[in-house]
């Protein structure tokens, strides 16, 4: 009798615990919250300053030649320079990236998510922990591009009319 009760209590306890663990996972790990677990390997942390990062998200991939070599750790704003400071962590395996490499915010597909693409430079010194990428290219904002296109077309038309 007491044995039966024991299994029942242990089983119920396990079930309730599992349920609350799942609930805790859903409430803390899914929505944007500061209590997230970090999935970190050994990596080199560098920063890059951009004029505009578009909607670059934390966790977005950092790629070189299209291959993922790291991820975006944080996107912050520098109120002094009015620039976005993006912290990148790059896998420690890739510790031979020239320190004059450039970083660009790119888009996967026409409307896809933003990611950071690195292009190799020619220096013989390499990016190290805490380093900074000097040459950056901002996100291409589709709306601005469209505006420019229309402005260009309108200007061309005016020119045609004058001739």
């Amino acid at each position: 009798m007491s044995n039966v009760n024991r299994t029942l209590e242990v089983g119920t306890g396990l079930f309730v615990l599992l349920g609350f663990a799942a609930l805790a996972f859903l409430t803390t790990q899914l929505p944007g919250s500061s209590l997230k677990l970090k999935r970190e390997g050994a990596s080199i942390h560098v920063t890059a300053r951009f004029d505009n990062v578009g909607d670059l998200k934390v966790g977005a991939p950092v790629t070189m030649a299209g291959v993922r070599i790291g991820r975006v750790d944080a996107v912050n704003f520098d109120p002094g320079e009015f620039k976005a400071v993006v912290s990148l962590s790059i896998d420690r395996r890739y510790d031979h990236i020239p320190d004059d490499s450039d970083a660009a915010i790119q888009t996967s597909g026409l409307l896809g998510a933003k990611y950071v693409g690195l292009g190799p430079g020619g220096a013989t010194t390499f990016l190290a922990e805490g380093g900074q990428i000097q040459f950056t290219q901002s996100a291409i904002v589709l709306e601005n591009l469209v505006n420019k296109l229309f402005a260009g077309m309108a200007g061309k038309k005016d020119g045609d009319a004058k001739q």
Binding site: F15, A22, L26, L30, K57, V72, G109, L111
Partner: protein
């Protein structure tokens, strides 16, 4: 004929509502004997764990496959994480868990109470001035209400794990963007919405199970019919409530 069927429906709805009121009145006294409720949480919840976890895994996996197939046409397969998580949290998790609960636990509740009715155990309790609603029905009802949201949370978590398994492991969505998109799109209110839904579904399914069992015809056939009706009315009620709650949430 059709007239009597219409009135039958009203009669049944009225009876269910009255029965719910009777249960509600006995909830607090029943909670003074938590052991009975715990035993029912074990019966309804812990024993449904395997089926809920397995189904959650497969639902998450198939959601990732279908979601990827659709999203990659728009070049936005990186949104797979958020699509799978939102689908699971808001719709599939609560609904499928409730349907599984109705099939796995609701039927056994109905047939158990029905058999007590058929073998005159409920009448015997009444003879001894023991209220069968308080001692048999309410613990099972409360056990179901507590178990279903917990089962739903487990279903969701395992489903997201399954979606990650297929999305990242099989079709090759970037693991970083899978999680970061999920975390930037899912809000706490999405999680709450799913939990409130599952509470409503759990109440509906448990209520139908105990009602059908308690009012079963005291024959072998009657118990069988009560079990069938439990599944049918639980499923209909769950999906109806789901539509109403979704409309209310999206409208507000």
């Amino acid at each position: 004929m059709s007239h009597s069927r219409v009135t039958d429906t009203f009669v049944k709805i009225g009876r269910v509502a009255l029965f719910l009121a009777r249960i509600g009145g006995q909830c607090l006294p029943a909670l003074r004997r938590p052991r009975l409720v715990i035993a029912q949480i074990y019966n309804a919840g812990a024993r449904s764990l395997i089926i809920v976890m397995l189904c959650g895994l497969f639902v998450g996996m198939v959601l990732a496959l279908q979601g990827y197939d659709l999203l990659q046409r728009f070049g936005s397969e990186s949104a797979l994480g958020s699509a799978a998580a939102l689908g699971l949290l808001k719709e599939l998790g609560p609904v499928i868990t409730a349907l599984l609960f109705a099939g796995r636990a609701g039927t056994s509740l109905a047939s158990e109470i029905g058999l007590m009715r058929a073998t005159d155990q409920l009448n015997a309790m009444e003879m001894m001035a023991v209220d069968p609603v308080r001692h048999v029905v309410v613990p099972r009802f409360l056990g179901g209400i507590i178990a279903v949201p917990l089962l739903t949370a487990i279903f969701d978590a395992i489903g997201i794990f399954g979606a990650q398994l297929v999305g990242v492991g099989l079709v090759g969505v970037e693991s970083g963007s899978f999680w970061s998109q999920m975390q930037s799109f899912v809000t706490l209110s999405d999680v709450n919405q799913g939990i409130i839904k599952s509470l409503c579904f759990g109440t509906a399914c448990s209520l139908m199970a105990v009602y059908e069992g308690f009012h079963a015809e005291p024959t072998a056939e009657g118990v069988g019919r009560a079990t069938t009706r439990t599944v049918v009315s639980s499923a209909i009620l769950t999906l109806l409530l789901d539509y109403m709650l979704t409309a209310a949430y999206l409208g507000s």
